[in-house]
């Protein structure tokens, strides 16, 4: 790793005051499980790291308006084990539990999980691709078995987060601070696709800090599940994952939220699959129809067509587990 200046502020305001206007020069360090890997590979060479893991303003799981407020520096292991999260937003606990290893979950924060960079091997091997400011996605004509089947182009990375699909399904809001000013953004609008900005995966500006995630309680009568398909059985990033939340009344689906991870450059809301379920009884036929609708419009690359039936099956299986 290259040398850098290390700053450990004691307040959010002091942390924000350290930040600049340029991406990558001054960077925030929370758990560091992703950033340190990037710095060891010289993907990021920041001049200054600002530690935020310890900031009081970013800690804890608290009751909020109609749900929970989770500080961005809360550890994934604390979220997975949290009684209020398991009660009010079990989908998030389930997703947090599937992230990495116990050691990673004991270091990594929810904010960092949402802001982590893609796992694409071209990106991680420092190819001058879109993510590094270039104008090529090497996966298109290269080794693309783990790349996007939905919403790809011009970059075909997949979003690696497990908590992101869960939080989109739950309709969470992220709070973003510049130190003095703070704003709330629906989490679906937090993530950006490569057509909007091929170099980045979210709207955070270099002088902004993700401070908190507001998670509404899962609606009454809802059931939810997070299913993650991996190359290794024990742990890995998702080949595809689905966060599904279905609300039924009298056996009929009133609302459904189906969000895919690992298949698109951002957490992909499968709106057509949601529409298929609404007003129906959740049975095998409905789950199969929703599975098919979830991958409607998929455009696989040369080596990842397997992800289409895989995703379809995972969505179907996830929904059946809620029936």
């Amino acid at each position: 790793m290259h040398n850098f200046a290390y700053i450990r502020p004691t307040t959010l305001r002091d942390a924000a005051a350290q930040l600049g206007k340029e991406h990558g020069k001054v960077m925030l360090l929370a758990g560091g499980t992703d950033l340190l890997g990037e710095m060891k590979d010289d993907l990021r060479v920041p001049e200054k790291l600002v530690a935020i893991r310890q900031l009081r303003e970013l800690q804890g799981i608290r009751p909020g308006r109609g749900g929970l407020r989770i500080g961005a520096a809360t550890l994934l292991s604390d979220i997975a084990e949290s009684a209020p999260v398991r009660e009010q937003a079990p989908l998030l606990a389930m997703a947090a539990e599937t992230v990495g290893t116990p050691q990673i979950r004991n270091m990594a924060t929810i904010g960092g999980n949402l802001c982590q960079r893609p796992r694409c091997w071209y990106y991680r091997n420092n190819y001058p691709c879109f993510k590094h400011g270039g104008s090529v996605c090497y996966s298109v004509t290269g080794e693309n078995e783990y790349h996007a089947i939905l919403e790809g182009g011009p970059s075909y990375i997949v979003h690696p987060s497990d908590t992101a699909p869960a939080l989109v399904a739950l309709g969470a809001t992220v709070r973003i601070s510049t130190g003095g000013r703070e704003r709330g953004v629906p989490i679906e609008k937090f993530f950006v696709g490569p057509r909007q900005d091929p170099a980045r995966e979210n709207i955070l500006q270099p002088n902004e800090i993700l401070t908190e995630i507001e998670v509404p309680s899962a609606p009454a009568g809802s059931k939810a599940v997070y299913v993650k398909e991996m190359v290794r059985e024990v742990w890995d990033f998702a080949l595809c994952s689905v966060a599904a939340m279905v609300t039924t009344s009298g056996g009929i689906v009133g609302d459904a939220r189906i969000v895919l991870g690992g298949v698109a450059p951002f957490p992909y809301r499968a709106l057509k699959a949601e529409a298929v379920l609404k007003g129906r009884r959740l049975d095998e036929a409905a789950a199969a129809a929703a599975g098919a609708a979830a991958v409607d419009g998929a455009r696989p690359l040369s080596k990842n067509a397997y992800k289409v039936p895989l995703t379809q099956a995972v969505v179907t299986r996830a929904l059946l587990s809620l029936a």
């Binding site: 450990r8 116990p102 270091m107």
Partner: protein, 162 residues
């Protein structure tokens, strides 16, 4: 340079290191505690596992400065001069290790588990070891050893040496 003061295996220690120093390097190169191993250096293998404030972490993915003010326990903190920690003893008795490179990390993951959950199920043990790779022995003998320690209620650190 940055000054790091931490509690290491019960003793308060201070070192001055460049900020880019990982906790693993601090342990191995500044404090000479080479039990924690450098394997993959990216958090995949778990050979560098230590316990910080009661939780297992990858010391290769934590900066030394991030451990400032915290309580760190490494494999060297388990045994006394006269007695192995029960986990170490049972790993030896059961032949749970061959080359042994993964051992310190595995034992620290097991210790973190037993400290929180003295009577884990086999699945809970497997989940706790999910972040530790062994490439020679396999995991069955390790799980047997951890179960034996749990059965004996011997997850606690060894009493001080006579």
């Amino acid at each position: 340079m940055a000054t790091v003061t931490l509690t290491l295996n019960g003793d308060v220690r201070t070192a001055s290191v460049p900020p880019e120093t990982t906790l693993l390097r601090l342990l191995r190169e500044e404090f000479g505690l080479t039990g924690s191993k450098l394997g993959c250096d990216v958090g995949d293998c778990g050979a560098c596992t230590v316990i910080v404030d009661g939780k297992s972490v990858n010391s290769c993915l934590m900066l030394a400065v991030q451990a400032d003010g915290r309580d760190v326990v490494t494999i060297e903190g388990l045994a006394t001069m006269s007695r192995l920690h029960p986990l170490q003893q049972l790993f030896e008795d059961k032949g749970s290790l061959q080359c042994g490179f993964c051992g310190p990390g595995v034992i620290m993951s097991a210790k973190a588990l037993l400290d929180e959950n003295p009577d884990p199920s086999e699945q809970e043990i497997r989940d706790a070891l999910a972040g530790n790779l062994c490439r020679c022995t396999g995991y069955s003998k390790m799980i047997e050893a951890i179960q034996a320690v749990a059965r004996d209620g011997r997850g606690e650190p060894a009493k001080s040496a006579v």
